[in-house]
C-alpha cells in the first residue's frame, strides 16, 4: 500500500493555479525528489500535504486514510514530518532541548500528570533523554548539544531539524531543499543522513534544486512546473529526457 497518495490535488491563489490537479503515490521506504523551476508550486504542495493549507480540490490519503480534514498537528501525530527551507529550529533553546521537546510521547506536557503522576513522567523523561543522546550522536552534533540552536551553523541547524524529525517518530519526511545553502561537504553529510534514515524505515519526499545530487540518491523523480507534473520516472529516465531542459529553461 502506498504511504502517501495524492489525487487531483488543486490549490489556487487569487486565480493563479499554484497546484493544478496533481496526482501521485509514494511507496514506503523510498526517496522521491520533486524538482522544477521556482514558483512551480512545490512548496505549496508540501503545505497542502502537511496541512498548513486547505485544498481547493482533490484528496490526500496517508496510510490508506483520508487526512484532508486533519490539522497540521494531527497529521504530525500520524507521522508526517516537515523540514522547512528556512529550517525553523527553536533558536533560543539548546540543540539538546530542541531534540527533547520534539519527543513524541510526553505525558509531562499535561500539567496534572506532571504534578500528580511525577514518577511516571520522570521515567519517560529519562527515556527521552536517552533517546536524545542517541539521536545527537547519530546526527554528529554531540559536541554542540548545549549550544543554543541559533549559534549553530546553517548546516548544523539542518542536521538538528532532521534529528527533531527522528525524535518525533516521523515516518513520511517532507524535506524542503535539504541541501540548499550549505557547503559541499555538508551536502554529502546530509544526503548520507537521509539515506540512513530511509534504511531505518523512513520515507522521504524532497524538494531539491540541486538536481544531480537529488538524482543521485532518489528512487523516483517528479518534475513540476506551473503547478503540474510535467515529467516523472526514475532518475535515469528523467535526466535523459529532453523535456527536462525545456521545463527548466522555459524554452
Amino acid at each position: 500500500m502506498a504511504l502517501l497518495e495524492i489525487q487531483h490535488l488543486a490549490k489556487s491563489f487569487d486565480g493563479v493555479k499554484a497546484v493544478d490537479h496533481v496526482s501521485f503515490a509514494i511507496e514506503p521506504g523510498t526517496i522521491t525528489s520533486i524538482i522544477g523551476p521556482n514558483g512551480a508550486g512545490k512548496t505549496t504542495l508540501f503545505n497542502l500535504v502537511a496541512g498548513f493549507l486547505r485544498r481547493d480540490a482533490g484528496t490526500i490519503h496517508y496510510k490508506g486514510k483520508a487526512i484532508d480534514d486533519l490539522s497540521p498537528s494531527q497529521r504530525a501525530g500520524l507521522g508526517v514530518g516537515r523540514l522547512w527551507q528556512d529550517i525553523r529550529v527553536f533558536r533560543n533553546m539548546t540543540a539538546r532541548e530542541n531534540l527533547l521537546v520534539a519527543q513524541k510521547h510526553q505525558p509531562g506536557e499535561k500539567i496534572s500528570n506532571y504534578l500528580l503522576r511525577y514518577k511516571n513522567v520522570d521515567k519517560l523523561e529519562k527515556q527521552n533523554r536517552e533517546a536524545a543522546e542517541r539521536v545527537i550522536k547519530f546526527i554528529r552534533l554531540d559536541h554542540k548539544q548545549n549550544s543554543l540552536a541559533q549559534d549553530l551553523s546553517y548546516g548544523q541547524q539542518k542536521l538538528l531539524a532532521l534529528g527533531r524529525l527522528l525524535m518525533n517518530e516521523a515516518e513520511l519526511l517532507l524535506l524542503d531543499e535539504p541541501t540548499a545553502g550549505v557547503n559541499p561537504l555538508m551536502i554529502d553529510e546530509i544526503l548520507a543522513l537521509i539515506q540512513m534514515l530511509v534504511k531505518e524505515g523512513k520515507t522521504v519526499l524532497m524538494i531539491e534544486h540541486n538536481v544531480p545530487k537529488a538524482m543521485s540518491i532518489s528512487d523516483w523523480v517528479y518534475v513540476m512546473d506551473e503547478g503540474r507534473i510535467e515529467l516523472y520516472g526514475s532518475p535515469a529516465e528523467v535526466s535523459s529526457n529532453p523535456l527536462l531542459k525545456e521545463v527548466y529553461l522555459g524554452v
Binding site: F13, D14, N47, F52, L53
Partner: protein, 296 residues
Amino acid sequence: MAFQILLNGLIAGLLYSLVALGFSLIYSGAKVFHIAHGAIYTAAVYFFLAWIFVAGPASSGWSLFAALLATLISVCLLALLFEISVYRPLSVRRAPPLVTFISSLGLYIIIVNLIALFFGNETKILNPNIEPTITLGEVIITRMQIIQLIVSSLIILLVFFLLKQTALGRNIRALSDNPILVNVLGINGKRIRILVFMLGSLLAASASLLKAFDVGVDPHVGLSAVLTAAVAVIIGGANSHFGAVLGALLLGMTQNLVVWFLSAQWQDAMTFVIFILVLLARRDGLLATKLRLEER
C-alpha cells in the same frame, strides 16, 4: 434625534479618521506600531497652549495663527526626535517588532508624564466661550462642529490627493510596499520615513487641536485616541488607508450611539468589543488583502 446622533457620529468619526490615517501611514510606511502616536496627539495641544502663552492672549488673530504654526512645527520636530533617537536605530538593527513596540510604549509614557508634570492632570479648556449654534430642523450644530467637519474633510481629501497624485505620495506608497527596493531605485528612504512620521503626526495634531477647541484636553486623551485609531486601522484592513478612514467612521458612529444609550464611560470598552467582533468575523479586517501563509 437619530439625525443628531448621526451628525455627532460623523464628526467624531472624521476626527478619528485623521488620527487613524496618520497611524496607518506610519504603520505601513515605517512598519512601526506607533503607540507613541497618542503622545504626539496629546503633545500637540499642549504645545499650542505653551505657544499661545508666549505669543500673547489668544484674542488677536495673528497670535492665534502664529501659535498654530509654531505648534505644527514643534509637532514635526517631536516626530523627528522619535524617529532619529528611537525608531531608526532599531530599524537599522532589524529589531523585532515587539522590541519596537515596547520602545514606543516607553516614549508614550515619558511624553505623557512630562506633560502631566509641567501642566498638571486637570482638563484644560481652550475656548471658554459658549459656541454659537445653528439649528437645522431637529439637529443642532455648533460653530466649532462645522469647523471640525469642514477642516477634517478637507485634510482627508488633501492627504488622499497627495498619496495618489504627487511624487511624494508615490514614494510613500513605494516605501510601504518595498522598503528595500526604494533605496535601490534612488529614492532617499530615510528622508521619506521622516516625512511619513511628520505627515502622520501632523494629522494627529490636527485632530487633537480640532477636538481640544471643542472639549478641552488632559494628558491622558492620547491613549484612547491612538487605540481607537489602531482599532480603526486594523478593522479596516491593515494595508488600506481608505479602510482606516472607513473603520474610524464606523467607530465614531458606534461610540456616539453608546454615549446616547449607555454613558460616555463605556466608549472605549465598546470600541474594543467591536474590535474583537470584527476580527472574529473576518480575521484580516474588512478590506484587507490576504497575506501569504508565511507572512502571518
